[in-house]
């Protein structure tokens, strides 16, 4: 399997800030690399020495369960040391700025910073201010690259390729970094993306994105090969963007009834955490079409691949600057 001949392609990015700037080749290279990490969970010793002696810091300024634990476990499996940083128990509460915090962590010898921040662009700012590698684990409404990579990986793993697939992303597109990163990754890999949701939850300038838009899930569900249900993000919905949760659920929730209209082999995805009974019915989330837990397992392989690749790029950069 996958006896692809050696390519001349070299991964040279020491930061993963978003998928918008990545080429199709780069995205495919990450997915191919992740395949090598998939079997780790079945080993007798679930560790490799690839990042031995390296220090990874998880800087999370927002809540997270999956992404944070996934990065921690991924770094541990590559034998890195991991520092957990949370906003609530840190000097950020004393007024320290992001850059100062990061520079201080860097002074302790941190090699890779994994950052989640409520401000879009925070990882980019950080990457210009410190020498360590920076990985974006979600910034504001902007991007969440590792989530989109694991989504693409899961689809490719099951469907073989993304070329020509019709993939629906349903829900609050405007406030979703998952949607934004998914749009970049999936379209670059050859899929057709259809955004589905109420007009109030569509991003401004949606016509400039390489996607189709539908305000009715019932109108498009029978065409989809994959449906990615976004979470209703109550913490981001300040205004009156939809009349009521019940009404939203009625028109855009993925119910058993609605799924009957879809192709029998449709993949049901969700980035988590689930609002059971709102955007997705429990029986659908736990049903035969759901690959939600597989997404979580694959996330680990993707994050190991990304940690490995950014570190390798940093080593090669050091080699180039000291010939």
């Amino acid at each position: 399997m996958n006896q692809t001949t050696k390519t001349d392609f070299q991964w040279r990015r020491k930061h993963l800030l978003g998928l918008r700037d990545l080429s199709r080749k780069e995205i495919e290279f990450i997915l191919d690399t992740a395949r090598g990490f998939e079997e780790f969970s079945t080993r007798s010793i679930k560790k490799a020495p690839a990042l031995r002696g390296k220090v990874v810091v998880n800087m999370f300024f927002e809540d997270s369960t999956r992404t944070r634990n996934s990065f921690t476990l991924a770094a541990s499996r590559l034998s890195a040391d991991v520092i957990e940083f949370t906003k609530t128990s840190s000097s950020v509460n004393k007024g320290e700025t992001l850059i100062d915090t990061a520079r201080n962590l860097e002074a302790m010898g941190v090699d890779i910073v994994v950052i989640r921040h409520n401000a879009g662009g925070a990882p980019h700012l950080l990457s210009r201010s410190i020498k360590a590698c920076v990985i974006n684990a979600g910034d504001g409404f902007h991007e969440h690259p590792t989530q989109a990579l694991l989504d693409a990986y899961t689809i490719r793993q099951i469907k073989g390729s993304l070329e020509g697939l019709k993939i629906g992303i349903v829900g609050d597109i405007a406030h979703s970094r998952v949607a934004r990163s998914n749009i970049h990754a999936l379209t670059k890999l050859g899929a057709e993306v259809i955004l589905v949701g109420p007009p109030t939850l569509m991003p401004a300038q949606v016509q400039n994105l390489p996607v189709q838009v539908s305000y009715s899930l019932d109108a498009v569900i029978d065409k989809l090969d994959v449906i990615n249900m976004l979470r209703i993000q109550f913490e981001r919905l300040g205004g009156n963007l939809f009349p009521s949760v019940r009404e939203y659920s009625h028109f855009y929730g993925l119910t058993v009834e609605r799924l009957k209209k879809a192709k029998p082999d449709i993949l049901v995805m969700h980035p988590g955490p689930l609002n059971r009974g709102l955007e997705i019915e429990s029986e659908v989330a736990d049903g035969p079409n759901s690959v939600i837990l597989r997404q979580v397992s694959n996330g680990l392989a993707i994050r190991m691949a990304v940690l490995f690749l950014v570190n390798q790029a940093a080593v090669l950069e050091a080699k180039d600057s000291h010939p």
Partner: protein, 175 residues
């Protein structure tokens, strides 16, 4: 550039190595073969075919990717861009006798990495090493149990094993 082995000679060597292996390890009920990506993988599959025929039983065969275990991946002086590929070993190596297969034995560093990688997969009863070419210039205390051909080449020369499956032609070259 000179040709060290042609197609017929490679095939002869594999026949003779598999004969030696069969007489040494053939009575062993737990023999498995593991090739190091990528040329070792192909040689392992060819030895597997010969040994399975010779011993009248199907010998399990797998592929090991050693990228994560290489000792140069952190070393700014020696790091080279490398791609992590899959390890495909769908059997338990615990208590087995592993025949590890690679194309060229040189510094011994790839074999060192492979031994570490195997240890993380389980605890074999024994590990034996078979290589097509031993070109000398070892940097680590490692030797092969089965060697196709030994050659002395200058340190700056490169021994290249080309196999039909990946290279369309079948040759061992020194250049």
């Amino acid at each position: 550039m000179r040709v060290l082995l042609n197609e017929a000679q490679i095939s002869e060597i594999l026949d003779s190595i598999s004969q030696d292996i069969a007489s040494d390890l053939g009575s062993n009920n737990n023999l498995v073969i593991i090739g190091i990506r990528s040329r070792g993988e192909i040689l392992a599959q060819r030895l597997q075919k010969r040994l399975s025929e010779r011993l009248g039983k199907e010998i399990p065969c797998g592929t090991l990717d050693i990228t994560l275990y290489r000792d140069d991946i952190h070393d700014p002086q020696n790091a080279v861009p490398s791609q992590v590929r899959t390890t495909e070993i769908d059997f338990d190596i615990h208590q087995t006798t592993v025949l590890l297969v690679d194309d060229v034995l040189h510094t011994g560093r790839s074999v060192r990495a492979a031994l570490d990688a195997l240890t993380d997969l389980g605890r074999p009863k024994a590990i034996r090493l078979a290589v097509l070419v031993d070109r000398g210039s070892r940097e680590l205390p490692i030797r092969a149990d089965y060697v196709g051909i030994r050659v002395d080449v200058n340190p700056e020369e490169r021994v290249q094993v080309l196999l039909k499956e990946t290279d369309q032609i079948e040759q061992v070259l020194v250049e």
